[in-house]
């Protein structure tokens, strides 16, 4: 039956897109503020990127070039599925190369290659509220944001330090946006947090199930929460990527056998591939 139905460009009808674009504009005007929007049921499940898909559908034009990644990779099943969705419903050109894309929809990572002005990153967000696990009520957290009352979060981080000696949050590490709104960067590893700060690209965040959109316009100040005596530190890996030899990327751990054998490789597959094709000999030596 669905075959008989002709869907609009990028699936959503123009009225819905306009509604979502209004929410995006408001979000851009108030960086870090969560704007409610009337999320639609999409033909993929809630929790699988419907927020990001609706944002992408609303901003996509016929001349855009779309890249979709999940866990940093273009080839993970859900990234493939979302890319196919837009290739089919919008007929836009897709790419795996970060530098070629005008829109990059992502789940859990920000590409390693620096982004440029004019590019847009669309994040898929499961729980947009950074205070949710400290205060489950939406009615309460909205008030806390309005009053800029983020004591709860500071206490949580302090308790981490008291118990563990450092802040025990490895991903979805909270950030302050333009010294006003506390924001959840989506479940990206804290390794990626510094990339958000003063990024030349527009960063849009869509949470479909929770019906929220928020944004970081280009060159927004984004600061990971910390304390003077416990400054934010980026995750560092003890070894380089086993495939391309890069030392400054986020790595996936791959199990090789059941005797503790493992290797570490770039989570950003496009970045890794690019390096291997340009600097092949050195990288090959690093392989096991």
């Amino acid at each position: 039956m669905t075959d008989a139905v002709a869907y609009n460009f990028a699936y959503l009808d123009e009225q819905s897109k306009r509604t979502i674009r209004r929410a995006i504009l408001k979000a851009v005007a108030i960086p870090g503020y969560q704007v409610p929007f009337p999320s639609r049921e999409m033909p993929m499940p809630y929790g699988w990127g419907t927020g990001g898909v609706q944002v992408t559908a609303s901003i996509l034009g016929p001349h855009d070039v779309l890249k979709v990644i999940d866990q940093g990779a273009d080839d993970t099943t859900n990234a493939v599925s979302i890319r196919q969705f837009f290739a089919r419903t919008a007929g836009v050109r897709t790419t795996t190369r970060t530098s070629e894309a005008s829109i990059i929809q992502t789940r859990h990572r920000i590409p390693e290659a620096p982004l440029a002005e004019g590019q847009i990153v669309v994040f898929q967000v499961p729980i947009p509220e950074p205070l949710r696990f400290l205060e489950p009520r939406e009615s309460e957290t909205r008030q806390l944001h309005a009053l800029e009352d983020y004591g709860l979060m500071h206490v949580k981080l302090y308790e981490d330090i008291a118990r563990h000696g450092h802040i025990a949050t490895a991903y979805a590490y909270p950030v302050m946006v333009e010294a006003r709104y506390l924001m959840d960067p989506s479940p990206t590893p804290k390794f990626d947090n510094p990339k958000m700060h003063m990024s030349p690209a527009l960063q849009l965040f869509g949470a479909g199930r929770e019906q929220r959109i928020y944004a970081l316009p280009p060159y927004t100040r984004v600061v990971s929460l910390d304390f003077d005596d416990h400054p934010f530190a980026r995750t560092r890996f003890a070894q380089p990527c086993a495939l391309c030899g890069e030392r400054h990327t986020y790595l996936d751990e791959v199990l090789l056998d059941d005797r503790g054998g493992r290797m570490f490789v770039c989570s950003d597959t496009d970045y890794c591939q690019e390096r291997r094709t340009t600097a092949a000999p050195e990288a090959r030596n690093e392989r096991r």
Binding site: D13, Y46, G47, W48, H108, R109, P136, H164, T235, L251
Partner: protein, 373 residues
């Protein structure tokens, strides 16, 4: 040597192919048609229409077939389709008092104007597994919905005449919200709460309604009336200026009356809980009525301590399309977050061992993994 996992695209295509085969089952057996599902699995169709928020038995039957009988999946299919439909406008309020009845029972009065009518119900069947319904066709006489010989007003209306029950407030004047067009904000009014409950998961409502009966936010309910039958749906096109009938739909309505001892501002009287569902769906309508009343505890000045009385808790979690999506999204890759957690956990373990002066080396730390500094 590790070869990066490729081929997501091919795997997806192969999975779809396998799914199609599994859906068909044994090819030596005749394939069931959507029309058979609509007619013979009507209660499944009703549930899918109700929670899919789309009254279309044919589409619901197709969805059930496509979903291999997974009703939540079928509900999802219907919802996704519904989201693409243009919104022409809003129907006139339906009049369930004028319902063409197929079933009507009251647990509060032995006899009442319009009478009681048992109708097609499992209620007094003995649940003995019986293969005969599968092989023997019932007499080909469908129960017809006859116009009532005498009016059958709702039981609560009869109580209203005595002032024993609160009046339904806000019947006119107030604009009615639409939670499919406006994001739900808390606190939500009763109009939006009822909308959310009407499309909510039957199992979730059932469990919560049951919890109120067992003491978690007790509401002292009586089933004043449950009625099921057909009502006319009308639409008022602006250019016409009068309502035109669109067709008839089957509905199940449940009105609970609940004891209320009064407060400083309100006299003791019965209060209402209301449930309404597409098709024949009594369990859903009754659970909804219990929850509607439980969610009114705050406005009635009652203590709100139980989950069923907490509107954020109930409304934020009652939608099975949302719930299943988020629970099942845990199937998606989380390599990156998991890696972050691994590094953190290894560091916490190393710190823990160091603090105890142990010389034991953490095996994972020895493996040379990254450390979150």
């Amino acid at each position: 040597m590790y070869v990066a996992v490729k081929g997501g695209e091919a795997a997806i295509a192969a999975a779809h192919e396998l799914l199609a085969r599994q859906r068909r089952g044994d090819p030596n057996l005749p394939e069931i048609s959507a029309a058979q599902i609509r007619e013979q699995l009507a209660l499944a169709v009703n549930r899918v229409m109700c929670e899919g928020s789309l009254y279309d038995g044919d589409l619901a039957a197709i969805a059930i077939k496509q979903a291999r009988g997974d009703l939540i999946e079928a509900i999802f299919l219907l919802r996704a389709y519904r989201a693409t439909l243009p919104r022409l406008g809003y129907a006139e309020p339906i009049d369930t008092g004028a319902m063409c009845l197929r079933r009507r029972i009251s647990a509060t009065y032995k006899d009442l104007p319009g009478g009681q009518m048992l109708g097609p119900t499992f209620d007094y069947t003995h649940r003995l597994l019986d293969p005969t319904p599968l092989t023997v066709a019932p007499p080909p006489q469908q129960q017809r919905c006859e116009p009532a010989s005498e009016p059958a007003p709702q039981v609560t209306q009869l109580l209203d005449g005595e002032g024993l029950i609160e009046s339904n407030a806000g019947a006119d004047g107030d604009a009615i919200g639409d939670l499919t067009r406006t994001p739900l904000a808390f606190p939500a009014g009763r109009d939006l709460r009822l909308q959310a409950l009407a499309r909510a998961d039957e199992g979730f409502l059932l469990g919560l309604a049951y919890s109120t009966q067992r003491g978690y936010g007790r509401t002292h309910p009586f089933a004043a009336e449950i009625r099921m039958g057909e009502v006319e749906v009308e639409f008022m096109p602006e250019e016409l200026g009068f309502a035109v009938p669109l067709g008839r739909i089957t509905l199940t309505e449940c009105e609970m009356v609940n004891q209320f001892h009064g407060s400083a501002t309100r006299p003791p009287q019965f209060t209402r809980g209301y449930g309404l569902a597409f098709g024949h769906a009594e369990r859903k309508a009754m659970a909804m009525a219990l929850l509607d009343r439980a969610l009114r505890s705050e406005e009635l000045g009652q203590e709100c301590a139980a989950p069923a009385q907490d509107q954020e808790f109930v409304l934020a979690h009652c939608d099975n399309v949302q719930a299943t999506g988020f629970v099942e999204h845990l199937k998606l890759p989380h390599y990156v977050d998991f890696q972050a957690e691994l590094a953190l956990l290894r560091q916490l373990r190393a710190d823990w061992l160091a603090a105890r002066g142990g010389k034991q080396e953490d095996t994972a730390a020895r493996a040379g993994d990254g450390v979150a500094l």
